[in-house]
């Protein structure tokens, strides 16, 4: 085992500089493996499983839903089966619900009590989603949060904030941007950001440079 770790900015640091709990996970891991509670292979598998999960999965689902109405209907009716069709393994999710945005309705998702998120599809949530500020404000001031992300909505658009307090995991199906009618799915995917599937912003209006 290396005596240094790579930190959040990619720098190497000696392990003795880690915080109290950061150090303890190394001791806990070693003991769990020694005692056969989990194996090194278990740990490695989980690392790889997590690495394979990124917002690109969600972008593929959304782009296909935009271009294929029958798929969109299946995606909304039974999201886990629709994921399986596209080779995305969403079996770890207990229950999965798709929230479809429209011109007159926007959805936003939060977990105020902790940080529940559709990890098996989208990967790990961003730091801001897990932050106290987001957890506190999103239920009370969703439009203020959206404004920070650049989305300003008129009062005749309904904003629906979901607090995912139980085993249901939510993903927002963003509105298809105007003027993309003949686009290929591969280009549409580039408009579907992770943040648009959380609901704090719409999909991008054009491919970022």
């Amino acid at each position: 085992m290396a005596d240094s770790v790579t930190d959040a900015d990619g720098h190497e640091h000696p392990k003795h500089e880690l915080s109290h709990f950061a150090k303890r996970i190394y001791a806990i891991r070693e003991l769990l493996v020694e005692k056969g509670v989990i194996s090194e292979k278990d740990i490695q598998c989980q690392i790889e499983y997590q690495e394979a999960r990124t917002p690109a999965n969600g972008a593929k689902l959304v782009a296909r839903a935009w271009t294929d109405p029958a798929f969109k209907a299946r995606f909304i009716a039974d999201p886990k089966a629709a994921c399986a069709e596209m080779g995305i393994d969403a079996t770890a999710i207990n229950e999965f619900v798709v929230l479809e945005n429209s011109e007159k309705v926007r959805h936003m998702v939060v977990c105020t009590l902790c940080s529940c998120y559709p990890r098996p599809i989208l990967g790990r949530p961003p730091d801001w989603y897990k932050s106290f500020n987001y957890r506190q404000r999103s239920v009370a001031d969703p439009r203020g949060v959206m404004r920070e992300f650049g989305l300003e909505l008129p009062d005749d658009v309904e904003v629906r904030v979901h607090d995912s307090t139980a085993d249901i995991r939510y993903i927002v199906l963003p509105l298809r941007p105007a003027g993309t009618e003949n686009w290929r799915a591969a280009d549409l995917e580039k408009l579907v950001t992770r943040d648009s599937m959380i609901g704090v912003m719409d999909a991008l209006p054009e491919i970022p440079q």
Binding site: S131, N133, A140
Partner: protein, 103 residues
């Protein structure tokens, strides 16, 4: 009784959303993987981990980083289930620290 320190939806005084993101450090990736591996093996449930975080000292909850809270709750639950003891963890950590070299 009062609302738990985790039960913060709608509390006033929250500031703007800091969208800075960080790449996970090695120890955070490890904490995440150990947590998931324990779940996959049926050793603990997510509900137990949440409860452990709710029961922790409130100022620690606010001051610790996200994955530090995960590690603290992993430790609490493993000790509660008599899978590990605090003494064992302390001892193993002391062994590592002498290898890693304290300043």
């Amino acid at each position: 009784m009062a609302r738990g320190h985790h039960d913060i939806g709608g509390l006033p005084g929250a500031g703007s959303i800091d969208v800075t993101e960080h790449q996970l450090a090695d120890w955070e990736i490890l904490a995440d993987a150990v947590n998931q591996a324990l779940g996959a093996r049926g050793v603990k449930r997510t509900d137990e981990m949440r409860r452990a975080r709710e029961e922790m000292d409130s100022s620690a909850y606010r001051d610790m980083t996200y994955y530090e809270r995960w590690i603290a709750s992993i430790e609490t639950i493993l000790i509660e289930k008599n899978i590990l003891t605090k003494a064992e963890i302390d001892k193993k950590l002391a062994e590592f620290e002498s290898k890693w070299g304290e300043p």
